[in-house]
Homo-oligomer: 74 residues x 2
DNA sequence: TTGTGACTTTTAGTCCGTC
DNA sequence: GGACGGACTAAAAGTCACA
């Protein structure tokens, strides 16, 4: 039985955190790349923000991946 | 040159509309399946709604597909 | 460099309806 | 069966000071 991670927001946040680090960003520099606030990015990564589609797209773009890739396995 | 559809919300809405119809739902029955409001689903399909992640997941679930599949080619 | 609480403004999302 | 509007409430967006 495969462990299915908790909440969709937590899974999404963790995925953003991993991909951000892989891209060599700090939260602050990544926030700047997205045009968003540093604390907002932090909140997303902690699974505290129910991010809407426009910001999801912004994040995918900053990571240089497609929406489908960002959502992969979530 | 491939036509790149307008706005992410419009592309998402159009995709939901196509998949909903393929599943044989009316907007109203689909809204019921999602536990969302009928006028909200209509607004999404018209590209007027910036849907948040929890509802994106709800919609994917009601359509019986993954988030990545829902976001495919958006 | 990030976590967190508190906060205001904007918008997500509901519910009533008409065409 | 779906587009669209008005009025409303809940929640997302966005920012700050401080640990």
């Amino acid at each position: 039985m495969v462990k299915r991670a908790a909440d969709i927001l937590e899974r999404f946040g963790e995925r953003v955190r991993v991909l951000r680090k892989e891209s060599g960003y700090s939260q602050e520099s990544f926030a700047a790349a997205c045009g968003l606030d540093r604390t907002y990015i932090g909140g997303i990564e902690r699974g505290e923000r129910n991010v809407a589609l426009r910001n999801i797209e912004t994040i995918a773009r900053a990571l240089g991946i497609t929406l489908a890739e960002l959502m992969d396995d979530l």
